[in-house]
Symmetry: C2
Subunit: 251 residues, 2 copies
């Protein structure tokens, strides 16, 4: 795959790549989709290159689809990373050796790559991580237990989370991360996990319902310890409207 790209690099935008920070929510954990580098203890963000005949946003959608199979999810460009030393020679050489590509043909990969960061919000349960090849491991990992990442991918991930945190004040979040039916406590846990702090249960309910994007269902969650919480769903129309116009206040 990568070998094909390197050997046909004239079909790809030179010196430019895309990296995706794909967020999912499960078991009260904010998870990130990471790829294990074969035969090493480091991981990387799912990324890809940009065909010269594709818009960068389209290329980002492609990367996301290849890895998650999900479509029509929330995907947003958040920053572009271009330090001179962000991809060092050492790393490039290792890749070329691993792929058994001779130095001359692999020259393309050795230049400085600028990478455009996108973050995505996807429904954990509908997403089945897909490996590009058999000895590649791709896995959901709790964002609090992210292992060592290659290059500046940790910086990219941190920036993505930072952006998500800020945007939580400007837009509603949840439609993409939660299943269709969910409880208020679940939604609150999502907010708490992203913001990394506790919120008052009662104030949260008031604030989130006042936005007017929730529909209370005539149904309770089953098989739970203690009192069964009510189920809610998002009112898609109103949700989209608020997404477009923005919230007014912060959390």
């Amino acid at each position: 795959m990568l070998k094909d790209i390197i050997e046909n690099n004239q079909n790809y935008q030179p010196g430019l790549s895309i990296d995706c920070v794909i967020f999912g929510f499960h078991d009260n954990q904010l998870k990130v989709l990471l790829i294990k580098i074969p035969h090493q203890n480091t991981w990387s963000l799912p990324g890809g290159f940009i065909p010269i005949d594709q818009d960068i946003d389209t290329a980002a959608v492609t990367v996301l689809n290849e890895r998650t199979g999900v479509e029509g999810v929330f995907l947003r460009q958040f920053a572009t990373f271009g330090k001179v030393k962000r991809n060092d020679q050492h790393f490039g050489k290792e890749v070329l050796e691993y792929l058994k590509i001779e130095e001359e043909k692999g020259k393309w990969l050795m230049q400085r790559f600028v990478t455009i960061g996108y973050y995505a919000l996807v429904d954990f349960l509908k997403t089945i991580p897909k490996s590009a090849d058999k000895d590649q491991v791709i896995e959901w990992i709790d964002h609090k237990e992210v292992p060592e990442l290659i290059l500046d991918h940790k910086e990219i991930l941190d920036k993505a989370l930072d952006t998500l945190r800020t945007e939580l004040n400007l837009m509603p979040v949840g439609y993409n991360l939660l299943p269709e039916k969910f409880t208020i406590p679940e939604l609150q846990k999502l907010y708490e996990t992203i913001l990394d702090r506790k919120l008052d249960r009662r104030n949260f309910l008031r604030k989130i319902t006042n936005i007017g994007i929730l529909t209370k269902l005539d149904e309770k969650k089953s098989n739970v310890a203690h009192k069964a919480p009510n189920l809610y769903s998002f009112d898609k129309d109103k949700y989209e409207e608020v997404l477009k116009n923005g919230l007014t206040q912060g959390w």
Copy 2:
């Protein structure tokens, strides 16, 4: 200049450029620094290319300094633009003809360029627009009267203003755009111009002073019609602190 770059394009990041939206404030107008394309009726944003041995942020600072001479101003990356058709063949050919560069040498310019957008906030009075060469016109233009721009530069400008508007809710603005001493009505006009709506004078005063970044000076503005307004300055330390930690509420 551009000719040098094209002819020595191996020293520059391929297919990648930087465009700067430089904002200034004067006469109650939000102004943008634009460059006139010689012998045409279109204008462009000041931009540049990225030396392969420079971080993209450094290259952006260079572009800004070359055009304004000012240093240490507010400069922030806001988005990256990469539609396939954003720089069309037609435009590239015109540039090459104008610069009298033969097609083979100019091939580098004809590929799709992805551009990284930065916006800057500078003190209008301290900034003297600098042309790169004698028949180039560079000028401050009211953002409400921006003429036709090349390529997707209008889209870039719009996105920059949009970003500034959003960030007004998250950070203080003014330190970079106003002279050292200024009046509250001037600061209010700046906010009103950016937001494109009227704000209540009295509520604005209360809100802006409550942030705690202003120092009331024992001095009034002179030579003004009607009642002379008091002068204020920013408390740099507190300003920086709020800039780092962010505001809490919106306007």
